[in-house]
């Protein structure tokens, strides 16, 4: 469904910068572009959290059980988490059509 473009009456003369009230942040679903995805081995993981610190997207999270997950909505498959993991607990595997 295509949204209609706004008319001149609907545009606020402040969209060049942040307004004092609500700003709209346009977030792309960047997970669409990846070719490889990280797979986390929770047994090997030593919870050093280097992967969380170094992800360029910031999409790796630790949940309440202490397990490490990456959000597939945003992961671009760059491989930095796997390369920097000190115990090699992350493996990059090719995306397949079967999910």
């Amino acid at each position: 469904m295509k949204t209609k473009a706004p008319t001149y009456r609907e545009i606020s003369p402040a969209c060049g910068m942040s307004m004092q009230s609500q700003e709209v942040l346009n977030v792309n679903t960047t997970g669409d572009i990846r070719s490889e995805m990280p797979v986390f081995d929770q047994e090997k993981c030593i919870k050093c959290k280097q992967c969380i610190l170094l992800c360029p997207e910031g999409c790796i999270m630790e949940d309440d059980d202490g397990k490490i997950y990456a959000s597939m909505t945003f992961c671009k498959g760059c491989g930095i988490c796997a390369y920097e993991c000190p115990v090699k607990a992350i493996e990059m595997v090719l995306e397949t059509t079967e999910k």
Binding site: P6, Y8, A14, M17, N28, D32
Partner: protein, 408 residues
């Protein structure tokens, strides 16, 4: 109400007094002849504590306008001033300030743009900004400079206008010529100019909040999607300003007793005139003398002083054009290779085009690159226009009045 004080001031010092009365908050300026006294007088006021503001001694005009843009967006009233080479150097941020709808006020002390270099006046530097969206006022003497700067803040900050304003006065002829200037009372100006608060933009993060919207394709939005609508909004702001400027003129007149025509332009002895001269800036003062002399001799001639160039007073010019036989526009700026005359002539003839019966129209180049304009020059121009009105036809469309040597 206190009696206003009167001081002997020239154009530049009057401008600095106007900035002090308007309580500008951030003032980034770079000195350039003939505007240097504006800078030094403002620095003096700030050092002595008479004006509580941040004077920023920037290192170039490009930075001056950049600082003015971001300071205005953060919520402070700003002022800057430049001319000629400086204006051409700050051309990039000039477009940003008007596009961002920030009500900055800039003083332009008109000076010819080099090459050929000259320190004296002509109008090319301020008329160059006619496409940018800034409003433009032209001042005849030091008193008008002071009054117009104060009015400029009120007009620019109105929530239906929200556009920056240029106040232009000529270098040396107005900027260094002193006259007794009546300085309004600070309390009266405070009532006239409320505290500056932009209705839409404020960068201070007290109430910052955000909403997350999902978009699909990466790289969407490389064109500014609503460009046409943005420009249309700015055009509507100019139309609104055409109605607002006369109202502000009247309101200011009630406080100080000084009126500048009807706001957009002033008609001088135009009753029953068959020929009319249109001027901008200090040439108006010289022309008033000539018009008086010619009226003594019984010639039917009048003078129109164009106070605002943007918004261009199209309707007012048309009203005048419908009543007279011949109009002569005195251009103090060149538009090389144009269809006929300088920027002022081209705009005026476009305004007159939709009349059913056109008056005869002639352009006169006078005072370019700081050549002095005398009453003799104006007299020649006036007699040419009167002759055309009498004979019902023109000999030439564009006259180079002060040219040495026979023109082709």
């Amino acid at each position: 109400m206190n009696l206003p004080i009167r001081k002997l001031l020239d154009g530049n010092h009057a401008a600095a007094w106007a900035v002090k009365l308007s309580r500008a908050g951030v003032i980034p300026i770079f000195p350039i002849t003939p505007q240097t006294e504006v800078v030094s007088q403002i620095a003096d006021f700030v050092e002595k504590g008479e004006l509580k503001a941040e004077y920023v001694p920037v290192e170039s005009e490009h930075s001056a306008m950049g600082v003015a843009a971001s300071a205005s967006a953060t919520g402070c009233r700003t002022f800057t001033a430049s001319n000629s080479q400086g204006i051409v150097y700050m051309e990039e941020p000039i477009w940003w300030v008007s596009g961002w709808r920030l009500p900055v006020v800039m003083g332009i002390v008109n000076r010819a743009i080099g090459f050929p270099t000259s320190l004296g006046p002509d109008h090319n530097d301020s008329l160059l900004q006619r496409d940018t969206g800034w409003l433009q006022f032209y001042c005849e003497n030091a008193q008008e400079v002071l009054d117009t700067i104060i009015q400029a803040y009120r007009i620019g900050e109105d929530k239906n206008v929200l556009l920056p304003v240029i106040v232009a006065w000529e270098g040396f002829v107005v900027s260094h010529a002193a006259m007794p200037v009546s300085i309004p009372d600070q309390e009266d100006v405070d009532k006239f100019l409320p505290f500056y608060e932009h209705p839409y933009i404020n960068l201070v993060p007290d109430k910052y909040s955000f909403k997350i919207k999902q978009i699909g394709a990466v790289g969407e939005g490389t064109r500014f999607e609503s460009g046409t609508e943005w420009r249309y909004q700015m055009e509507l702001a100019h139309e609104y300003a055409k109605k607002l400027i006369p109202k502000i003129n009247t309101e200011y007149g009630k406080i100080t007793g000084r009126l500048y025509g009807k706001g957009l332009l002033e008609q001088y002895r135009c009753n029953g005139a068959e020929a009319v001269l249109i001027t901008m800036g200090s040439i108006t003062g010289t022309t008033r003398v000539v018009i008086d002399q010619l009226r003594e001799e019984g010639k039917p001639i009048g003078l129109v002083k164009l106070r605002t160039f943007r918004p261009f007073p199209t309707e007012a010019i048309r009203e005048i054009g419908a009543k007279v036989k011949a109009i002569g526009f005195i251009d103090r700026a060149i538009s090389q290779g144009s269809a006929g005359g300088g920027p002022g002539s081209i705009e005026t003839s476009r305004a007159l085009y939709s009349l059913e019966k056109h008056p005869l129209f002639m352009s006169f180049y006078c005072g370019l690159t700081s050549r002095e304009v005398t009453t003799d020059d104006i007299r020649d121009i006036a007699e040419t226009v009167l002759k055309a009105a009498e004979m019902g036809k023109i000999e030439k469309e564009v006259y180079w009045t002060q040219l040495r040597g026979e023109g082709l």
